[in-house]
Symmetry: C2
Subunit: 211 residues, 2 copies
Amino acid sequence: MSQPDTKQRILNAAEHLFSRDGYHATSLRSITTMATVNLAAVNYHFGSKEALLEAVIIRRLDPLNEIRLGQLEALLKKSEETEEVPTCRNILRTFVEPTLRLRQQGADAEDFIALIGRILAEPRGLAMTIFMAHMEPLMNRLFQALAVSLPGLSRQTLFWRVHFALGSLSHIMRYHERHAMVPEGVNIDMPVDAFVDLFLDFAVAGMEVTQ
Amino acid sequence: MSQPDTKQRILNAAEHLFSRDGYHATSLRSITTMATVNLAAVNYHFGSKEALLEAVIIRRLDPLNEIRLGQLEALLKKSEETEEVPTCRNILRTFVEPTLRLRQQGADAEDFIALIGRILAEPRGLAMTIFMAHMEPLMNRLFQALAVSLPGLSRQTLFWRVHFALGSLSHIMRYHERHAMVPEGVNIDMPVDAFVDLFLDFAVAGMEVTQ
DNA sequence: GTATGTGTTAAACGTACGTTTTAATTATGT
DNA sequence: ACATAATTAAAACGTACGTTTAACACATAC
């Protein structure tokens, strides 16, 4: 029987297992079993396990970065017209909000967000190379926009603060899974808009503070 | 010939390779080769690969947490005597400063810091279970002290802001390795004291901001 | 000197891995 | 309908893994 969506089923299963267990701890057999697909299908459709990882990343990262870059460009263009410097908060929002909103779209997207968080945690890994190649243009644009928005900061300080902020984001991208050490009275499933604001309150204050 | 420091040599090699390549991507053979030790020595001295990982973590984490907890208790005791509430900055410093200072002590400690950063990035992993068991008392104490220092924040907001701050820290613990995307004019090797202050400027502002 | 315990070594164990091969099956084009 | 290409299926490939075994070396103690 023919399954025309074999590739998508493999991608979904791989996305889930890579994000849950990591690349090296996930076997092709566990992926193909979950996808109810023959073992050889991965090498037939993708060529190798590494190429599968790259396909998993690119499938969602490129569209996400298009949204982020689109919002950033729109913000910069509007600020050109009104001749006002865009605020740090609005710049960061173009990066953060599409990221956290993606997670709301379903369990699959949630897997991907967690996977990105894991990738950022393996600086020397194969996935990091793939990831960086698809992030660099957006990152340069973001850094440049923030430099204009925060002219009082040295490049050194700005560089580290951007990493502090994105480090926070990558951490909570991973942490959102159900986990121990959640004290009572804490709701781990907040609405996206409220959570974005909660995050931006923190990050923007840290970015803008004068030492 | 007898090598009385076989265990330490294994621990050093494992620490280095686990932090560089991750637990699953590191083989016992690569560890024992680097340690110039027989393959069977790991299972003889530690019992298993998992037990080796636990030994690697505990060797440095327990002493580090003793320092952190000691500084925190000292701060709380001094504030009791002077009847002043300790500042958020000083509380966070007891956690951050020993961490970043450890990295200055040599390449081995730098490996460990990177390993902790990786562990924090694998929420479901074996290492996370080991790590959490050794972190929970300190984390509870830290959270409690911050709640006193920042009475205006809801438990919800405080919880997330602590995670934002520690997420930043865990990110830079990993990022300190030489890496691409470091723009010109940025010194990635700052003195520890300056870097601690740079981080605390950011984190404290984010913790204390009133929305 | 012999016995005992600790540590080391080389070799092999069984298992699981990513990948490849070959054949069968299904879809497509004329 | 038939020929050709694309996909799926089962099986096997060689390799690397964590672990175990059994022989060996070298202490210290009697």
